[in-house]
């Protein structure tokens, strides 16, 4: 087992000093930002570590782990809402997306006994799943709103031909989903060739046999892929529902000034 200890941690701060010195040297003006980021990261990790230390004591109920998952879903949903605020009711939609994804992905991992259900497995896996789908969820939301805004004329022309909202929206939903999913597919393809992924690196550093580490890593990558696909699909379909009225009209989200229809 690798244990760097507090002294090791303090010495690793030298690398932050390197970043600060480079920023000063090139007059990037990022020194404060770097120091703040490094400090904040350490504080957050320590806080999480302390809580985990308590939760991982033998005999702690797994329900505390589920409670942790609920909190993570909430925080992720608030983040999506802050980064893609135009869609009405996006907060609850994001909660639904992450919760739905948790049910599907954790259901497979624990339901088939791939991992043993335990606080020690539940919290990190749920964290990986939510953390890695966050960016794609934000991306699909913003992309879809932009797509309906830019292609408004096309969508309305489809509606005017008598297509229902679901059919009229489909090409644009598809495009946004592809935009959000392709980076994840590319990352999955390139794994191991360019960078060793985090889970595997962590396990190897902690002294685990590389092949065992690879097995866990691969399962984690599939977890992330499945979770990104689930959250983005739920988001895209949910946003589509919210942007159309029940009588198949496309709502207007950005209407500062006179709308184009009034010309």
């Amino acid at each position: 087992m690798t244990d760097i200890g507090w002294v090791g941690l303090a010495l690793s701060l030298l690398l932050v000093v390197v970043a600060v010195v480079l920023s000063m040297w090139e007059r990037l003006g990022l020194e404060r930002g770097i120091v703040w980021a490094a400090t904040r990261a350490l504080a957050q990790l320590l806080a999480v570590g302390l809580v985990l230390q308590v939760l991982l004591e033998p005999g702690v109920s797994v329900w505390w782990g589920w409670l942790w998952v609920v909190a993570m879903v909430g925080i992720a949903a608030v983040t999506v809402q802050r980064r893609a605020p135009l869609v009405p009711g996006i907060l609850w939609l994001a909660v639904l997306a992450f919760a739905g994804s948790a049910v599907v992905t954790l259901g497979v991992l624990f339901g088939f006994g791939i991992f043993e259900l335990d606080i020690r497995t539940l919290i990190p896996l749920a964290g990986l799943m939510i953390g890695n789908s966050l960016a794609a969820t934000v991306l699909v939301s913003r992309r879809l709103v932009a797509e309906f805004d830019e292609k408004r004329g096309e969508v309305e022309a489809r509606l005017a031909l008598g297509q229902p909202a679901s059919a009229a929206a489909h090409p644009y939903v598809r495009e946004s989903l592809r935009t959000a999913l392709i980076p994840q597919i590319e990352t999955t393809k390139a794994v191991g060739l360019i960078a060793l992924p985090g889970t595997m690196t962590g396990l190897i550093l902690a002294g685990v046999d590389p092949i065992d580490a690879v097995q866990v890593q691969a399962a984690v990558m599939y977890l992330v892929l499945g979770s990104v696909a689930t959250t983005t699909t739920v988001m895209a379909l949910g946003i589509r529902r919210r942007l159309f009225t029940p009588d198949h009209r496309l709502l207007r989200l950005t209407s500062p000034g006179p709308p184009p229809a009034a010309r």
Binding site: G153, E156, L161, P164, H248, L250, P258
Partner: protein
Amino acid sequence: MTVAGATRPRLDGATGEVPDRGVTVLVGPSGSGKSTLLRCCNRLEAPDAGTVRFRDDDVAGLDPLVLRRRVGMVFQRPTPFAGSVRDNLRVAEPALSERASELALERVGLDRSFLDRDARALSGGEAQRVCLARTLVTTPEVVLMDEVTSSVDPATRLGLEQLARALDDVEVPVIWVTHDLEQMQRLADHVLVVVDGRIVHAGTPSSLASDAPPEARRFLTGEAA
């Protein structure tokens, strides 16, 4: 009909009737509410107050998907979809035969060689003709045309006007929105003048000179435009 807007109502108690034949031109200055009025006719917009009646039926009570095939619409900017012209026509009617596709193009003055062309690579005028053909594929009873000539060349403008007249010949009434008074004179059997979200005059083109109220006349003489 009233339709709320961001700063002021886009339609403010507009009331009027469109005859069930010929070409009716909705004319008025930019931002007067002509397009909004038109969009209420196929339920792309819903009035906040008031009703729209289509042949005695309140359109709010009709299935919007059926209504929109009975009341077709062509938009200000051409809206070709990705894919070939044939693909575009098949969005309107997935089971459209090759022969019917050719006839649809013929009807708008394009030959069949267009069927395989990329709809998004067409000129503005060609694309607008394809959009009209696509709308006609749904065999609408009425066609709404929203400033359809504002982004096309002069030859296509006259071509589209002729196509609107030709629809009247086969007893498909047309509602045509424009702010172009000369176009109105060329095209209209019946005119509704829209100013500030209200229909301020309705009648034949020749009635405008004699019967139009002051607010309509101000627009017609160019003062309000």
